[in-house]
Amino acid sequence: MAGIIFLDNASTTKVDDRVFEAMTPYFTQQYGNPASLHDLGQSAEDAVEGSRRHVASLIGAKPEEIYFTSCGTESNNFSLFGLAKSLKGRGRHIISSSIEHISILNPLKDLKKEGWDHTLLPVDEYGSVSPEDLKKAIREDTALISIMHANNEVGTIQNLEDLGKIARDNDITFHSDGVASAGIIPVDVKKLGVDSYSFTSQQMYGPKGAAALYVRKGLRIKPYLIGGTQERGRRAGTENVPAIVGFGQAARIAKQELGKNAAYLEGLRNAMIEGIMAGIDNVKLNGHPQKRLPGNVHVSFEYIEGESILLLLNMEGIAAASGSSCVSQALKNSQVLISMGLSPTTAQGSVLFSLGKFNKRQEIDKTLEVLPPIIEKLRKMSPLYKES
């Protein structure tokens, strides 16, 4: 939409024009089913395999280690349920963290009913998992560790290399949810030492409807969607060819431009954080001050609530997000913020501005201009705020 300042890139991203163009033929011209023997099927299959190479290359994997799925949630469900099934001989304990995405946490709850115990590691005030805590949590029967790479809310990037080494030293399979990181920061699954890694197209300027699970060659995992022999029998269902083509292009472009984009975003981000701190008092920056996603500006405005901030920003044409319970469908405060030790009141006043490569400096300036009066207006209404 013209004129909208989209600072909600953590929820999804605009599709890059080049990506959309690459997808276009696959709807009304190259519409074949990759399973078909004929030329239209073959060209669809070639397109899917081409994408697989791009997607693999983005994270330093081999093409045959990539399985396409429909969304990040499916990749995470596939990994946890699929690995749990193949690992149950190894033990029945999983270690994860308290700031994981709900598509990790809910499967863990379900697995509990099937006899799997789990430990959720705490995080410090910046949202970091400590390798020491991980070491201590490992039990004789720990079969799987699942720790996200970057947090989608506060942007904190975990030290996966250290965590992965601990997993390896203890011969425990290691999954990481990379939905918020892949395509945004450099990812090399071999260096990170992960056995399985989820990521999705719609977070890197690709289309919705395509995501992937990296599964290290040789790792046993049961399929989750079952039926036909697509994806070498590990994910049944007709491939979403156009979306996969888009994902491939998005991955190709991301690999190429990642360094440039990250530097640009860090500049914007730092300017925005400084601008907010300078213009408004009683604001707290959430997440790690350095080890954070380049586009992440997550702040809490004391004394007021996030939904009302978002609504007023929206009136000014600015799109953002919040960890307030009033914004969540589940009517709960962001678990991430609470785990980091924020008080519920402070968590209520949180706003996530997630910047993307299409954002312009002027958009940040405009936001910095309209934000103080919005905060001021709401604080004036708040029973918690005493004007000084």
């Binding site: 004394y303 007021i304 609530e305 939904e307 009302s308 609504l311 007023l312 009136m315 307030s324 319970s325 009033c326 914004v327 469908q329 009517l331 519920p344 009141t345 209520q348 004036k380 209404m381 708040s382 029973p383 918690l384």
Partner: protein, 125 residues
């Protein structure tokens, strides 16, 4: 996601009667920030009528709109009439509220009633 009626958005954008009354005759508070919304109502009473109503609200768009609507509905009413204003009435006057907003955010009438009870209690003392 949440979609608010035009009336809710109007009240949210330009809420009526925001503020405190320094020497209020009654004060009522409901909710708490932990659960999401918190409202404080202040009233001035004259001849058993609400001579002034003001509020302060911490909360979502619905909570602010509800507070504003309650203050408007109550203003000038007799205490008995004001006590008859229900949360349901308020939602109705606002052209409806999203389902998930009915529990936490639609507490304005309760806060008003509490303020009236506070006034009555103080008068008794």
């Amino acid at each position: 996601m949440v979609t608010y009626s035009k009336k809710v958005m109007d009240h949210f954008m330009s809420p009526k009667n925001v503020g405190e009354i320094e020497d209020a005759d009654g004060v009522g508070e409901v909710g708490n920030p932990t659960c999401g919304d918190m409202m404080t109502f202040y009233i001035k009473v004259k001849d058993d009528r609400l001579d002034d109503v003001k509020f302060k609200t911490f909360g979502c768009g619905a909570a602010i709109a509800v507070s504003s609507m309650v203050s408007e509905l109550a203003m000038g009413k007799s205490l008995d009439e004001a006590l008859k204003i229900s949360n349901k009435d308020v939602a109705h006057e606002l052209g409806g509220l999203p389902k998930q907003k009915m529990h936490c955010s639609n507490l304005g009438a309760d806060a008003l009633h509490k303020a009236i009870q506070d006034y009555k209690k103080k008068k008794m003392e």
